[in-house]
Symmetry: C2
Subunit: 294 residues, 2 copies
């Protein structure tokens, strides 16, 4: 299968390499290597891709690849922390030993934290490079940090930790995922729209689309956890079951969970179409969210 | 002994209470309580105090107390993480059980990370309240994040972890402390200067003063670790020895270490005097850094 976005992904990887090369001399060996290991872990680069496609859908004609790495840095740090022995205690991620198994728990905690200001710096430098007005850069950084912060990803993570071993309602589960996963996906799209200097109604539509597909993505993650194998996933399968998390398949059954994901994708695309933003590229990614097998 | 800054400290505590009260409803019980426990741990509030005094020394006449909490949030998160079982494994801090002993390791890691975007939000909201121009607010946030980030506090922490059990030269030790402690102290002063719309030469002088007294503070921390007791410090004394860290008294002897701290304070004050910034308040705090007993 040919990846329709291989050019974009190659540009993203090059930019990530640049960022890592920039860290190493300044920060010393340990932190640079740890950040590089986490950031260059093979991944789908969904957030950078969505940022670039959101930028283009709003008429952006510059190169948003450097800016697109900013939410990926936040995403990578969150995976590094999720895998820690005192968190989910995972040994493999995307087919490789997790960061703390290679670089140690203490270094992984600290390097992960360092990635938040690093992501801000990358967003700011990239905005400057793209000659984005300072007030828009401020909004871009605010959107990024709100998605990462206590009201976003980190808050969702805490609620998730609090809910483990308890049975959660569908609504509670969705509140957690809205914060934990969908907020950063939506922020990536919105950052792309802001970088293209789109109006607030337009960036709101991108945000709504992002929240819908982000939740769908998470539902499919639960479904794949039940239906796939450790080899295909590149991480330990059936982990949710072991931790007794209330999963969507557990709450709804596999088929109804898949249906719910499809419905979300559909509504998300309608949201985009209402603002004339539903490019072929964005529908391809949205559809991938529910048809992926790993 | 009367605290010459009891009014400022009371204002800082009130602002910290406000910030904590603001977290609780939005973020749910767990994260709010954990952040509150860490942030409201009794402390000297040195960084907020220096921000306020730096602001005043530059002619600022508004209320900088809310802004001053921003570096304290970063400082508190760093203490919460330093105390973790996988870091320094400390059980007491300022006479109370450490945050992870009360709220658990996983919650403490995540709540600590959430405090970075929280500090940025507080800086931004406070700047808005003080009607500081947007471009200056951007600089304030940049100074804060640079001091917190991989080139600042977090980078220093990583180098410190890497150096444990090894013997370090005085120069290596100072590089670590410049990043780990002095950067945030200098940033607090510089943020105060920026908030008062001071010129770059002036904020540079505040920065230089901050780096000097920050290093002196750290040297005295090592000295107190050797000369004081667990009760007086409110944390486990002689911890450095147990971890075989290369300390200043170990490298120089207690008396020469104290001398070096005094010399730094002196040079820092000269730096301020050169720009007509050496207010009585700032010299009081600088002198406290080397005369404190806990």
């Amino acid at each position: 299968v040919v990846d329709p976005f291989d050019e974009e992904r190659a540009a993203i990887e090059r930019r990530l390499d640049e960022i890592c090369a920039g860290c190493l001399p300044e920060l010393g060996h340990t932190i640079g290597q740890t950040i590089t290991y986490g950031l260059k872990s093979p991944g789908k680069r969904l957030r950078p891709l969505l940022l670039i496609l959101g930028y283009r859908a709003c008429g952006g004609e510059g190169d948003a690849s450097r800016l697109s790495c900013s939410p990926e840095i936040i995403h990578s740090y969150s995976l590094m922390h999720d895998d820690l022995p005192c968190m989910d205690d995972d040994e493999f991620r995307r087919g490789r030993p997790t960061t703390h198994r290679v670089h140690g728990t203490r270094t992984t905690i600290t390097a992960g934290v360092a990635m938040i200001p690093l992501a801000v710096k990358v967003a700011r430098d990239a905005s400057h490079e793209m000659q984005i007005p300072a007030s828009v850069t401020t909004s871009i950084v605010q959107v990024l940090l709100a998605a990462a912060g206590a009201a976003g990803m980190i808050g969702g993570q805490l609620r998730d930790l609090a809910g483990e071993g308890q049975s959660l309602s569908l609504e509670e589960r969705e509140t957690i995922h809205a914060a934990k996963t969908a907020a950063l996906i939506a922020a990536s799209l919105k950052m792309g729209g802001l970088a293209a200097l789109a109006d607030p109604e337009v960036t709101d539509a991108l945000d709504g689309f992002g929240r819908a597909i982000g939740l769908a993505f998470q539902i499919m993650d639960d479904v794949l956890d039940v239906t796939s194998t450790t080899t295909a996933l590149g991480k330990t399968a059936r982990k949710d079951e072991v931790l007794r998390k209330s999963t969507y398949p557990g709450l709804l059954g596999v088929d109804a969970a898949r249906e719910r994901a499809l419905g979300l994708i559909h509504r998300g695309m309608e949201r985009l179409a209402g603002r004339d933003l539903l490019t072929q590229e964005l529908s391809q990614v949205a559809n991938f969210m529910v048809t992926r097998t790993s």
